[in-house]
């Protein structure tokens, strides 16, 4: 089994080597006739070019997302009968492993759903299409988009990615449990200490096997928020920007919370995954958890007890906070593949998915709140209660937030993994906190200095 797997991987590399020679000849010449018109031109006349064009698009997500996206793509095909789009979708796990292999084999899909954490990695290595020319030619319209999101999708002043929706980090909580225990719900100005107090109170009141809060000590991007509150950045100029004090403050917070019983046990935390179905709040064994705002729907669908009411609040503030740690984040990007044979059509599809009123009505807010202000207004009339809450939350955050930091540097994936195991080392009591932090910091510097 294993040797077969290894062989398959090696074979993949080999065939990549063999075939990349032939594939690179394709070039960009084929994009001719069909794309000469505006993407929003009347559906009937879009068959101007006779050439059949096939595009491939890849994304990760839940079943809900797969259904909505394929439906929107069908609509695009109806409007442009000469273009067909082949969908290649999966869950988050393994998505980027597969993508990197496809890029290595010069065989990546034409349209790629991209993540903020990996944007630099792919853009700097020349895998993504520069979308600038298509914005200029109006094939891709961005004038109604939030400027900060254009900035977020740019690397070295070139636009490589269009934001599909806006997200913000928050704390999801089970409001029914708060009501049941007579505990006041968190307010917008709450602090980390409040979080700790509430979590401990809930754990005590509910008894064994129930936890106020999920231990978040291994989650890099929540730690990042505390670093921002201390007016620093997690990474700075390709180096670690967080200081030892940041790490100490962070790990101490969680250490205390574990000791008071307010946070999940190390064993529980270690076996949790990113899937909502495995989180205590969904299983009915926890009251609070970290979330990204667009995941509220997924949480709601995963709840064991469907009657419980879920709400979201901002990430707690730091005690002597220098600036707001909250930020708006592109939940996902969509990018083009640098070697696509049909760059213009790729731009057309992107434009369709984010600016077309019909397409965006299908997609809704599943990928986050839309970046196009006109589309946002149009959606507002048809929102569900949960979506209304999420839209309101985004409004709250955008009033009181700071700009998102530049995308993570190359080597982030490895650092993220090490951060998690460092947090586990502390939680399981394997090694002194200071020593673990030192080790993590030296390791990260090594990784960052190599990844250039």
């Amino acid at each position: 089994m294993n040797s077969r797997k290894r062989k398959a991987a090696l074979g993949l590399i080999a065939s990549a080597l063999v075939f990349s020679g032939c594939a690179s000849g394709g070039g960009t010449t084929a994009s001719g006739g069909a794309a000469e018109k505006k993407p929003d031109a009347a559906a009937a006349s879009s068959g101007g070019g006779d050439k059949k064009i096939e595009l491939r698009m890849t994304w990760w997500g839940s079943q809900t997302r797969h259904d909505l996206t394929t439906k929107a793509l069908k609509l695009f095909e109806q409007k442009h009968p000469n273009i067909t789009i082949k969908a290649e979708y999966s869950g988050w796990d393994g998505y980027f492993d597969k993508l990197s292999t496809q890029v290595a084999g010069s065989n990546a899909p034409d349209l790629i759903q991209m993540d903020y954490a990996f944007l630099t990695e792919y853009a700097k290595r020349g895998a993504l299409l520069d979308l600038g020319p298509y914005v200029q030619s109006k094939d891709l319209r961005t004038e109604d988009h939030d400027k900060s999101m254009i900035k977020a999708g740019s690397v070295d002043n070139k636009l490589y990615a269009i934001t599909m929706g806006v997200n913000a980090p928050g704390i999801i909580y089970n409001a029914s449990v708060f009501k049941e225990l007579g505990i006041e719900e968190p307010k917008e100005n709450w602090t980390w200490n409040d979080l700790a107090d509430i979590a401990t109170k809930i754990s005590k009141a509910k008894g064994k096997g129930y936890y106020g809060m999920v231990d978040g000590s291994g989650t890099t991007n929540i730690f990042e928020i505390m670093v921002r509150q201390n007016d620093r950045t997690l990474f700075k100029d390709g180096k670690l920007g967080a200081t030892k004090e940041d790490f100490q403050q962070w790990f101490k917070l969680w250490d205390d919370l574990r000791k008071s019983g307010g946070a999940t046990t190390p064993e529980m935390t270690a076996t949790m995954t990113n899937a909502q179905e495995t989180r205590p709040i969904a299983l009915g064994t926890g009251a609070m958890d970290f979330t990204w705002s667009n995941q509220m729907l997924a949480f709601k669908n995963a709840m064991k007890n469907k009657n419980d009411e879920l709400k979201i609040q901002v990430i707690p503030h730091g005690a002597g906070e220098k600036k707001s740690g909250e930020y708006l984040k592109p939940s996902q990007f969509i990018s083009g593949y640098a070697k696509t044979a049909h760059p213009k059509e790729v731009a057309m599809v992107i434009d369709f998915l984010i600016n077309d009123p019909e397409a965006t009505a299908i997609l809704g807010a599943e990928r986050g709140v839309p970046v196009n202000s006109k589309i946002r207004d149009q959606l507002k009339s048809s929102l569900s209660d949960l979506d209304k809450m999420v839209f309101g939350f985004i409004d709250t955050v955008s009033k009181n937030s700071s700009d998102i930091d530049p995308p993570y540097p190359q080597g982030y994936a490895e650092i993220d993994k090490n951060f998690k195991s460092s947090s586990e080392q502390i939680a399981f009591g394997q090694g002194k906190m200071d020593a673990v932090i030192d080790q993590f910091m030296t390791g990260s510097s090594q990784i960052l200095s190599k990844a250039k």
Binding site: N2, K7, L10, G11, S15, S100, A413, K420, E424
Partner: protein, 315 residues
Amino acid sequence: MSAQPGTVAGAQAVPAKKTKVRHKQNGAALFFLTPWLIGLVCLTLGPMAASLYFSFTDYSILSSPRWAGFANYVTMFTEDKLFLVSMKVTFLYVFVSVPLKLIFALAVAMLLDKGIRGLGFYRTIYYIPSLLGGSVAISMLWRKMLGGDGLVNHALAFIGIEAPDWVGNPKYALYSLVLLSVWQFGSSMIIFLAGLKQIPADYYEASSVDGAGKARQFFNITLPILSPVIFFNLVMQIITSFQSFTQSFIISNGTGGPVNSTLMYSLYLYKKGFAFFQMGYASAMAWVLVILIGLFTLLVFRTSKSWVHYEDGGK
């Protein structure tokens, strides 16, 4: 390749007609071998050569490789702490799981060898785990069963034992993998069973006439005659255990956690290559593994002279 050395050299000596036939036959042989040859070159030799080359480069998958000499190998042994951790985890896994698995396989094989009714049935059900064992579904099931709130702990709680979370605790996580591996004893068991069937019954009859007990028979007849089979199973299991990947990947959700306690060598190699964009380093790790497995196999072969007995004297 498949052309025999005699064909060309002896061509003048044989009549022309015969040479033609010979050539035709060679051509046919080559023709029929082509699919296999293409497979060998494209799927085995080519990738191996490529990975050997990559192992001396800095290669991020997304951009083209840059020559780096022995840098990857040096980093591995001097800087990379996780490399050593993964090595330790893998050795521990191999040394614990292989003997346990073989002992268990032999024990079950001997039970089945007693000529019980429905032998075929038992053989099949004991073999099934081996067929399924490497699969993702079984690993996920295993993870669920051994989790803190899983079936195993519920059963233990029923008889009054409060058990830890087997896969969530760094002290036990690796042993849940060992357990999973031992559970897949089926394929070794089938081979043992075949070996046991080969032992002539008169050896046992003769020895019992001489007054040998069961234990004596086991150590003086069964084990020596079975030793070539044990040797074969041992080598095969060592090789597959060193390469073990799927189980640790699934049980730790791809992280090798908690605290890297299930970070198998192959898992770390995979992470380096496909998740951390260091294909050159991963290739170097793959070659170290090849050499390591080679050394171990050699070692087992060397020692085999003193404990493996062939009835024909090994000729």
